[in-house]
Each structure stands twice: as C-alpha cells, then as structure tokens.
C-alpha cells in the first residue's frame, strides 16, 4: 500500500507572462515604422505652426496700422478718415496677451476651427482655404505633373543620346529658361504677346474662369477653367521644366555607367527596354524626393504669378494676407503648406522604399 504523502506546497514559479498594457502597446506602436513617421510628421507640423504663430506676430505693423498706412498712402485719406475706416472694423484685439492668443489658436485648431480672417470680417479662414486651394492644386499641380513628366522623358533621352543635336539644343534651352525667374517670364509673355502682338486680350486671361459662365460640370465651364489656367500653367512649366530636364539628364548619365546597364546591353535587350526598365527607373529615383517636396509646395502656389494673373489661388491670398497683416489667414495657409510639405515628404519616403527595395530593407533593419 502506498502511502499517500502530501508534499508541502511549493511556491509556484513565476511564469513570465507579459500582461498587455498601454505602455507596451504604445512601445510596439512606436516601433512600427509608419506610425513613427506619421507621429514625427505631426510633431513637425505642431513645431512649425507654433514657430510661425509667434514669428508672424513679430512682423512690424499690426493689421490696423498697416490698413491706416495703406489708406492714407494709396487712397489719399486723411488720418481721421483712415482711422475711422479701419479701427472699428477689425475683429482683432492687439492687446490680448500673446500666450492667450496662442491657446485660443490651439484650442480652435483641435476643434478644426482656424478662426475668422482679421481683415475680412465674418469670413472664416477655413472657407478661404477651401475656396482657393482647389484652384492652386489644379493649376500648379497640373503644371508640375506636366513639367516633371516632360522633363523626365527629355532628360532621359538627352542622357542616353548624349552629345546629339537634341541633347545640345535642349540643354541650351533648359539652361536659359531655368535661369529666368517665373515672374519675368510672365511679364514678357504678357507684354510681348498681349500688348505688342495682341495675340490675346489681357483681360481675358485674368481670373480663374469666365464669370459669365454658370459654374457646373459642363464642357463650357471646364473648358473655361482650362483656358484661364493655360498661361499660369505654361509659365510654371517653362520655369521648372529646365531643372527637371537637366537633373534627369545628369542622373541618366550616372546610371548609364552602372554595370547592370552594360550587362543588359550584353544580353542583347532591346534599347527601349534598357531605356525604360533599367535606365529610366533607376535614374528617376533621386528625382522622386524632389518631386515630393515640390508637391508639398504646390499648395502654396506661386504668389507672384497668381497675383499677376489675378488667379484665384491660395498663393494670391497669402500675399494679400501678408500685406494686410491678416494673422489668422496667414496662420491657416502656413498650416496647410506645412502639412502638405511634411506629408508629401513622408509619401516620398514610402515611395522610395517601394521603388528601391534596398531602402526598404535598410529601414526594416533600423526598426
């Protein structure tokens, strides 16, 4: 018979079971590359926004003073007339402490409220951005796509057939036009083709669309939108295509020296395949980052060009806001530009990883 003996209770060994908690979850989340990049982006936006908030308020002249100076100088008003026309009209209290203005701004921002324009009573900054952003995105965005695409194709051809007449001609033209500022180009086009040669009526290319056409998804309206965007787009394309072309040419030449191109040629692959799959794809990589940055800056438009053509874009509004010291509108537009630049950089990062597996691998190892 066996005796049943009772073993004294042994202390249970501690089982190393990880209890899920918030901190661990956050730690794991932080290790995720995409989340990390996204949060870094948000922090960058907050930092830039805070910086610009304080910087623009350090600009000399308050909205009220700027308006009085403007009215006296440009409208020949007396001081009393200018003061009266200005002082009571602005929704702005210059004596409110700066830190309270900042907290007002932040609390509004959290609620998605960018406040009202100081100089345009009762008009919200969000409505200004929503009204004008699409025009800039369309015009500058379309121009960027065109100049990038054309620049890539021409640069590729120039690099591949280096020294040809085509290469020499386009290199010369690109060098010249990339050295001319866009506003000079716009002025020349207006004065030569509009005033001297009278190929078009200057008034007919101002604005965003023919005001006599009822807005709607009609051929007439869309055609008018394209017509009015044509000249600004042409100027954006002309002023930026030279840089894309020359950069792509340079990148192509450097890629052509790689061993895998020699191997591809030795394998007897068609010229077209070598050009597109081997040279083009690899030569384009350095330009993707620049494209992403450019996409970010699309949002800001081109201040001078939009002003010259009275194009209803965000850049023109930024110019007006800066001139009038409209802090809230400036703040809102800077926020949108900052967000666009930050997130387009993130997208560029991701796109590079997608295009170039070596970069993706590096990131995985890092994380």
């Amino acid at each position: 018979m066996s005796a049943i003996t009772t073993q004294p209770a042994q202390p249970q060994p501690q089982v190393d079971v990880q209890t899920p908690n918030v901190l661990d979850f956050l730690r794991r989340l932080w290790r995720n590359y995409y989340v990390k990049v996204f949060i870094q982006g948000l922090i960058t936006i907050w930092a830039v926004t805070t910086f610009t908030f304080f910087m623009i308020r350090q600009m000399p002249g308050s909205p009220v003073e700027a308006k009085i100076d403007e009215l006296m100088t440009r409208q020949a008003m007396t001081y009393e007339e200018a003061y009266r026309a200005t002082a009571t009209l602005f929704n702005f209290d210059p004596d409110r402490p700066l830190h309270l203005q900042y907290f007002d701004f932040l609390s509004g921002l959290v609620r998605g409220d960018l406040g009202d324009s100081i100089t345009k009573g009762g008009v919200s900054v969000t409505s200004i951005i929503l009204r004008y952003l699409p025009w800039t995105l369309f015009c500058v965005g379309m121009a960027l796509v065109i100049s990038f695409s054309l620049g890539i194709v021409m640069g590729l051809a120039m690099g591949y057939w280096r020294g040809s007449w085509f290469d020499n001609l386009i290199t010369t033209i690109s060098s010249i036009i990339s050295g001319i500022p866009d506003y000079i180009m716009a002025l020349l086009i207006i004065l030569i083709f509009g005033v001297q040669l009278q190929w078009f009526r200057i008034g007919d290319v101002r604005g965003g669309v023919d005001p006599n056409i009822t807005p709607g998804f009609t051929f007439e309206y869309i055609a008018s939108v394209f017509k009015y965007a044509l000249l600004p787009m042409l100027i954006y394309v002309l002023s930026s295509i030279g840089t894309w072309t020359l950069s792509m040419k340079s990148s192509t030449i450097s890629t052509l020296g790689e061993d895998y191109i020699t191997v591809a040629k030795a394998r007897g692959l068609s010229q077209r395949r070598i050009l597109t799959d081997y040279v083009g794809r690899n030569a384009m990589l350095p330009l993707v980052t620049r494209l992403a940055i450019s996409v970010g800056f699309v949002v800001g438009g081109s201040v001078i060009i939009e002003e010259m053509f009275q194009y209803p874009g965000l850049g023109r509004n930024l110019y007006i806001a800066i001139s009038g010291r409209d802090y809230t509108t400036m703040q809102g537009i800077f926020l949108v530009i900052t967000a666009a630049v930050v997130f387009s950089n993130i997208l560029a990062d991701l796109a590079i990883g997608w295009l170039d597996p070596r970069v993706r691998l590096g990131k995985q190892e890092e994380s």
Partner: protein
Amino acid sequence: MKRLFLVVGLLILVFGVVALPAAAQDAPEGTWLGTWPYSAPGTHNLNSFAAGGLNDNLGTVYRVFVELTPAYYMYASDEYFGLLAESWGFNDDATAYEYTIKEGAMWSDGNPVTSQDVVDTFSVGRILNWTQWTFLDSVEAVDERTVRFNFQEGGASRNAERLILKEYVVSSANYGDLAEQARQVVADGKTSDDAEWQALSTAIEEFRPESLIASGPYTYSLDDVGEAFMTLHWQPNSVFSSTVKFGDLKLWAGETEQTTPLVLSGELAHSTNVYPPATVESFAQAGIRLISISRGYGPVLLFNFTVPPFDNKLVRQAMAYAINRDQNALLTNGLGASGTVYMSGILDSLSPTLLDQSTLDALDHYPNDLDAAAAKMEEAGYTRNDAGKWVDADGNMISVEYTFPADFADFSAAARDATAQLNDFGFDITERALPWQEAANAIRISDFDLSVWSWGSASPFAYQNFNNPIRRWTVQLAEDQPGLKLDISNIEYEGQTYDLNDMILNVSNGLDTAEQHERADLIAKILNEGMYYIPLNEMLSVEPMNESSIGGVPADDDPIYKNPTGSDHPMIYLIFTGVLYPAGM
C-alpha cells in the same frame, strides 16, 4: 375719316406720354473701364460699415456711385456741388448744421431717400466711434427731407461741415434695426466701454445685407464680383440716373503692376494707380492721354530727434538748403511731381488759399544753396574734414541711416536722391531699404535716424495738412510708440514756447476764415523756421485717360483738375454730370 385721324392722334399722344419716360430710363450704353483693388469673391460683402464691405471694395473714388454723399467739394471755387443734398449750411448762431435732401431722391428699391436714412446712418456711426461724434451732440430729422446736426459747444467748423457733407448715407431699409438699437444703447447711458455697446458694434460688423440698396446711379450684387473684375450696373432710380452716360462701370482688380498691361492694351481707360515715370512715358508713347491732378501728398524727410545732430535746428535748416528739391521731384516721379516751394507745411497747391500772402513772402523757401547750407553747418559747430565730410568738434562724421520703403517706388526714389545729395554735401548716410510695413513701423517705434513718408493731405483744410506728418508720427500713435521723439507740445519759436499739438488741433476750428488764417500763418512760420521735417516735393497723380474709350475729357487747364485724387477726384464730378461719355457716342 376725321374721327379716325383723331383716334390715331390720341393714341399716338397717349403712347408717347407713356413711352417717353420709359425711354428716358433706359440704361445708357457703353462701359467705363476703371480699376480698384477690391476684395476677392468669398471675402466680399455688401455691408457699408464692415471690413470687406463697400468701403474696401469701392474705395474713395467709386463708392459714391452707389451710395451718395450729400455733396462733393470743388477746390477751384471753394464750393460744394450737391449730390444727395439740394441745400446746406450752418444755422444763424452756428450751433447746428442742416442739409435738405433733393426732392425726388430715391433708393434703388423705389423708396424715397429721407432724413431718417441720414439719422440712421449717424446712429450706427456713433456706435462705431465716428470722428463726427467728437463735435456732434445729436442728429435729428427736421422734416421728411431736412436733417439737423446739433454741435457740441464750439463744435462748428468748416472741417465739421466737410465731414458731414462727405459722409455716405445708407438705407434705413437695411440698417434701420441696427440704428434703432444704437439709439437705445445711447439712451440707456452706455458708453463704448460697456459690453452692450461693444456687442452692438460687433453686430454691425457682422451684419450681411442680402442686397445693396443704392442711392447712386449704379449698384451691384455679389454675383457681379469676379476674380479679375467687378461690374457696377446702372440703376434707374437715382437722382443722377438720367445724367450719367455709362451703362456699366467695370472695375479691374489689382494694383499698379496688374493694371499696367491693361492700360497699354487699351482694356483699361482710366486708372488712379501710381505709375513710375518710365511706365507713364510708355503710356504717352502709346498715344494714351495723361491727366495730372494733385495727389494730395508728397514724400517728406523725417528726423529722429534723439539722434544727433538732428536735434539741432541749424543742421536741419542746412539740410533743407542742401537738397535740390526740383531734382528730387524729377527723380521721385518724373514730371508727376514738383519741388516744394513754400515750405509752409501746407501743400503748395493749397498754401495761397490757406495762408496770407504776407506769410508766404515771409517764409524761408530754402532755395537750393550749398553756401547757405555750409554756413548753417559751420554755425552749428561743424567743419569739413579732408574728405569733405562734415565733422563735429570731436571729429565725428554725421554717419546715419536713411530708412525707406523699398516697395514704394516714389518714396524710395525720393529718399535715395536725398541721401545722394546730402552725401555729396558732406554727410555720411547709408540707405536702409525695408518692406513698406516695416518702414512705417520703424518710424512708429523710433528705429530710424532719417526716414521718408508722406506729408500734406488731400483735404482743403489746414488741420489735415499740418497734421501729416508732425502729429501723425508723434501723438497719433500707441502709448508705447515714441515716433519722431519730438515734444510738439513744447516748441520754441522766437523766444516763446508753443503747444504745436494744440495749435494744429484747433487751427481749422470755427467759421471765421480770418482767424483760421491767422492761426495757420503762425503754425506755418513755426514749422518753416524749425524745419521739423523737410517736405521734399509734392506729387501729382498722372492718370491715363484713354480717349479711344472715353469721350468728353476736359482740356488740361479745366478747373476741375484742381481737385486732388481721393474722395473729391475729378472723375467723380465728370461722370455724375455726364461730361464723360463712351467714345463714339
């Protein structure tokens, strides 16, 4: 047969009587092609009192075409021309001012313009702290068309008259409720420090009329506001609807840079923008007629009085002698400027009217005289060093900065030329170009040695002329802004101390012209002797007037061109009276 003729005759008569007035009310043909930097669609509203409203969008030149003022001032004859008012004047003891609205004056909604509209206008203005309420006690309707403005003690003046007669009148149909609330707030004894007053001020600012009710011959809706241009359309109910000759006023958006090509291409007939001399020359070469009117101001050299040696009157006088103002004018704005002659503190175009001839003769006109300038410098204790530069007893040169707004072509040209001339004379001045907002702010906060801004005013009164720049940059500033750092309440002149601030404030008070002259004469002498600022030149507004679009443009010597730009711009009178018409009419 006879009866048939009779019936036909009667019918013709009846239709004629009915049809003729209708024909007279047809919109005129042709379009006025002007420009104004109005607010873009989306930020544009039809509130007469708010930012982004009529004042911003139509400015001093075009607003009167939709909202009439009682009168328009003619500089050549020193008389008012009635717009909304048919008669006006002070009462016998100058305790009140009255004007009567023209019989038949109507709003675009078909209602008559009444004295209640005027009372409501000023009731709303009171909440907005209008200048008029610094001298007015009350505004009341005497009858359907007559309004009385009761002055505070000593409030009557010709300046007060102007501020009453130049105020745009708004419709009670739009603003009556707000005006009623305004009167209630005042009746309750509230002041601008009270929450009720401030809340009403905000309500006025936020009010958005659905439509514009116009008393002028033109009106518009928000649909007429485009990105590139806005259009004011003729309306039949105004007292001026039958005299104006343009069916539309088309206003291109933009400033000088945007409007220049439009002028050259003939798509813009008249512009009030400031064009640089080279652009004006290109207009002339293109065959575009140019008219010159006073701009009501010119560039002035301003001193920081705490920066030596500008606290020394002799040095300031020497500088006035050393600068060739005719050259400065030419470089400032080509033929569109003239060197200051009288140095009286009042524009040359107004000095003979506002000052006595004996005073004008007695003033030092500071002709360009380098010997006289050198003598003043030596009297101030300066000598020339080997390099020809003026140095004080310790050998210090006058090394200072001249701040100017880089983006104002006229002011920057004036400042740069003055710098060059003074350096040639023996100063050591460095140019400091800033964006215009920063340049203005530098004066406010005293962050400058020498600077440039405007002097004079497009006003027919001595007060506004003297006010700019000396009061504007010393007392009309925030508490923490020292400006020129000049104590204008203690100014020495011929052994006596004067409160120049007080003197300028009161110079145009009262109705006695002789007394006003006497006060203005003394101020002119004080300013002239002390040279507290150097008025470099008086600018003209050289404005394109394309006669291929506009007919009837008066000859260059027409008295109407005595009027300056601003709210008394000659075009206002010429359009209202039908002198100007579409070319080819």
